[in-house]
């Protein structure tokens, strides 16, 4: 049971999402303009926001940016024009996940579940240790453990893992990861990421509790595997 804020200018879609989420046991607030979306986000303090990028008054990305000024609430953006660049711009601008219209209720629910599950994983920047399911990262001693098994990581691999754990559940774009791990002068060297995520995946193994997923054309996402 979570409080979800849905922002879209299409009233029929809002109504359908409202009924669907309510049936799944969530409590839903809706807003049909960007301004109203921002103020509702402040008023009801939702657990997740579903935000359409094409709003009549404010650009969805602007709404995203404004909410991010005070809140870490997971934001799932909806795009209708099907172009990659707007999705990536929204993710870079602070959104956690995206969906392209049309989508099913099941898909929306799955994304909400990931967003809600990893919400506590967003840990303060000055934390000395990070945990994600069975994964434990010790920032002071530069050590990572998966359950009882210590991970042998190079410095760069460790930095990449730390970045992904800090943003667990969120879709991290190539640019975000490159700038966060390699430095602000990077951003287009997607091939580095391919190499390092391949190594990291091998070291994490595929039977243990975390999964590093590729989001085609966009980036990567680290999540806790569920038994379900």
């Amino acid at each position: 049971m979570a409080v979800v804020l849905a922002v879209d200018d299409d009233s029929a879609l809002l109504r359908a999402i409202g009924i669907g989420l309510k049936a799944l046991g969530h409590s839903v607030t809706t807003a049909n303009t960007g301004e109203r979306g921002v103020s509702e986000a402040a008023l009801v303090d939702p657990d997740a926001v579903v935000l359409d990028l094409g709003l009549p008054d404010l650009d969805g990305m602007e709404v995203c940016r404004r909410i991010r000024q005070w809140s870490d609430v997971p934001i799932i953006v909806l795009s209708a024009d099907g172009t990659e660049d707007r999705k990536i711009a929204a993710l870079d601008g602070g959104a956690d996940d995206y969906m392209t219209k049309p989508f099913s209720m099941g898909e929306l629910e799955a994304r909400l579940r990931v967003a809600l599950r990893h919400r506590p994983a967003l840990q303060p920047d000055d934390a000395k240790e990070l945990d994600l399911g069975p994964l434990h990262v010790d920032l002071v001693h530069h050590e990572a453990r998966l359950g009882e098994r210590p991970l042998e990581l190079t410095a760069r691999e460790f930095a990449l893992l730390t970045f992904l754990v800090r943003h667990a559940g969120k879709v991290c774009t190539h640019t975000m990861i490159l700038q966060g791990v390699w430095g602000p002068r990077y951003g287009t060297e997607v091939e580095y990421l391919r190499v390092y995520t391949y190594r990291l995946r091998r070291k994490l193994g595929d039977d243990d509790g975390v999964a590093l997923r590729t989001v085609p054309g966009v980036g990567y996402r680290l999540t806790v595997k569920t038994t379900s």
Binding site: D9, D10, S11, A12, L13, R15, A16, I17, I19, G20, K22, A23, L24, G25, D52, L53, G54, L55, P56, D57, D59, G60, L78, A80, D81, G82, T83, T100, K101, P102, F103, S104, M105, G106, L108, E109
Partner: protein, 491 residues
């Protein structure tokens, strides 16, 4: 050459005549006048001779003056011998000063003539450059250039050949027509560099090159040009080449611009159509998947609501597809208007049945004045116009805002249909563009296909559609239709 000799003769003759006249006047008084005065008077014919005939005429004038001075005014008269020493001095000074004067005056007039010629060159260049910066079509520009070149250099004929994909072609000519052989003589031969001096049978060519690349050829028939005119012609040719190059670059830039604009429009169309199609699809998908996935958790009311939403959105999708197909028909010119007498109240009712949910809720009201005659129209097209206008109002108004469709007499031969809402209206910035394809009021607001189709359909009837901005709140769209008039029963 003959011209300058004639000038010399003219100058010399003038000097001779003036000398003779002045001498005739002075001879009776020569004892009183003295050698100095008569020498001074004889300066006049020399100056006149130089001015009229140039330096050579000046020298002849000096000789004439010298003889007249010596024979008539220096004693002993009538002989070349000179008596007194001071007369020698007078004669020598006269000769020296006069030669100097002849030289100075002729140099001055030569400089003046040179200045005039330069001025003339500058003027011709200026005229041509004004021609070159002019902004008209290439064909008229080229013909004006060759005409200007012909006039400026007194040519018999001028032709301009331009480099095209399949070789050099004659782009413009002026003066006497060119024969096939003459044109063939213009064509450059392999390995023979084209130069201004290349001449064959009185035909000369000049290569036009800009930014290091050949642009074309200028061909002439007519008098051989002197050195300076040739330089001037070369300057003119460079300017012509540059402006041809400029015209080519401008055309290229224009083509690039058009390509970019087309691409932008296509992108806009893709994005807008994508948005318009995906939004109702998303609603249908969410509604249907909710019913499948969580059926047990839904109460009756919600289930009905979802079913109704699916129904309405499917209609919306169908209308959109119809609009897109209509748009294709309009754009491909395949629109056929099937005119027939139509009763407007019936048409309103029929065409807006797909708006049944809003009609039932009382949000949409239809009305027609009693005196409205039948109209001549294509009921299918006008029905689509009505649906598009009502849907546009629905989309831009808060839910529940009343929308009205009214039919009234416009004038004797016309009926006007008004679709009015009480929503936010059309912003001043959008007023001029509402009927434009892909105009929409904000990001992700849809393609705006509906209004442009409404406009196309109304205009296909030869009628007008407009946005009424009479200051009332909301947006008011109006269009006219011709009243149906019985054959023979005009007015």
């Amino acid at each position: 050459m003959s011209l300058s000799w004639r000038r010399v003769l003219l100058g010399s003759g003038l000097a001779l005549m003036v000398t003779a006249a002045l001498s005739a006047c002075m001879v009776p008084f020569r004892p009183q006048l003295g050698t100095a005065t008569s020498g001074l008077v004889l300066v006049v014919p020399v100056v006149l001779g130089v001015a009229a005939g140039g330096f050579v005429a000046g020298v002849v004038s000096v000789a004439i003056g010298f003889l007249a001075f010596d024979l008539l005014f220096i004693p002993p008269y009538g002989t070349l011998s000179v008596g007194a020493t001071r007369d020698w001095v007078a004669l020598a000074v006269y000769a020296a000063v006069m030669l100097l004067v002849a030289q100075v005056v002729s140099a001055l007039s030569a400089a003046r003539a040179e200045a005039r010629r330069r001025e003339d060159h500058v003027r011709r260049l200026l005229e041509l450059s004004e021609l070159l910066v002019g902004d008209d079509s290439e064909a008229s520009f080229l013909s004006r250039v060759v005409t200007a070149v012909r006039d400026a250099f007194d040519m018999d004929a001028v032709a301009l050949l331009l480099q095209r994909s399949h070789g050099l072609v004659v782009a413009a000519e002026a003066g006497q027509p060119w024969s096939e052989e003459q044109l063939a003589a213009l064509m450059p031969r392999a390995r023979v560099p084209v130069r201004a001096e290349t001449a064959e049978g009185g035909i000369r060519t000049l290569a036009l090159a800009a930014t290091g690349a050949p642009v074309g050829l200028l061909g002439f028939r007519g008098p051989v040009l002197g050195g300076e005119d040739r330089d001037l012609l070369r300057g003119v040719a460079n300017q012509v080449a540059l402006s041809l190059e400029r015209a080519r670059l401008r055309e290229q830039a224009l083509r690039t611009e058009i390509a970019e604009e087309t691409e932008r429009l296509q992108k806009a169309l893709m994005g807008a159509v994508s948005h318009d199609l995906r939004t109702p699809l998303a609603t249908i998908k969410v509604s249907a998947s909710t019913m499948r996935q969580t059926d047990a958790a839904l109460n009756d009311e919600d289930r009905q609501e979802l079913l109704r939403t699916i129904d309405v959105e499917a209609d919306r999708l169908a209308r959109l597809v119809t609009n897109l197909l209509d748009l294709t028909r309009v754009q491909s010119g395949a629109l056929i208007v099937d005119l027939q007498p139509v009763s407007m109240p019936d048409l309103l009712e029929e065409s807006l049945t797909c708006m049944e949910p809003v009609l039932a809720a009382g949000q949409l009201s239809l009305s027609a004045a009693d005196d409205v005659p039948a109209v001549t129209a294509d009921p299918v097209l006008i029905g689509q116009v009505l649906v598009n206008l009502v849907e546009n109002a629905l989309r831009h108004c808060p839910p529940g805002t009343p929308i009205s469709v009214d039919v009234a007499r416009h004038d004797e031969h016309r009926v006007v249909v008004t679709v009015a809402d009480q929503g936010p209206g059309v912003g001043a910035s959008s007023e001029g563009h509402v009927f434009e394809l892909f105009h929409h009021r904000g990001p992700g607001q849809g393609a705006g296909v509906g209004l442009s189709i409404a406009k196309a359909f109304v205009e296909a009837h030869g009628e007008r559609i407009w946005l009424d901005e009479s200051g009332r709140p909301g947006a008011r769209f109006c269009f006219t239709l011709p009243a149906f008039e019985d054959a023979g029963g005009k007015g």
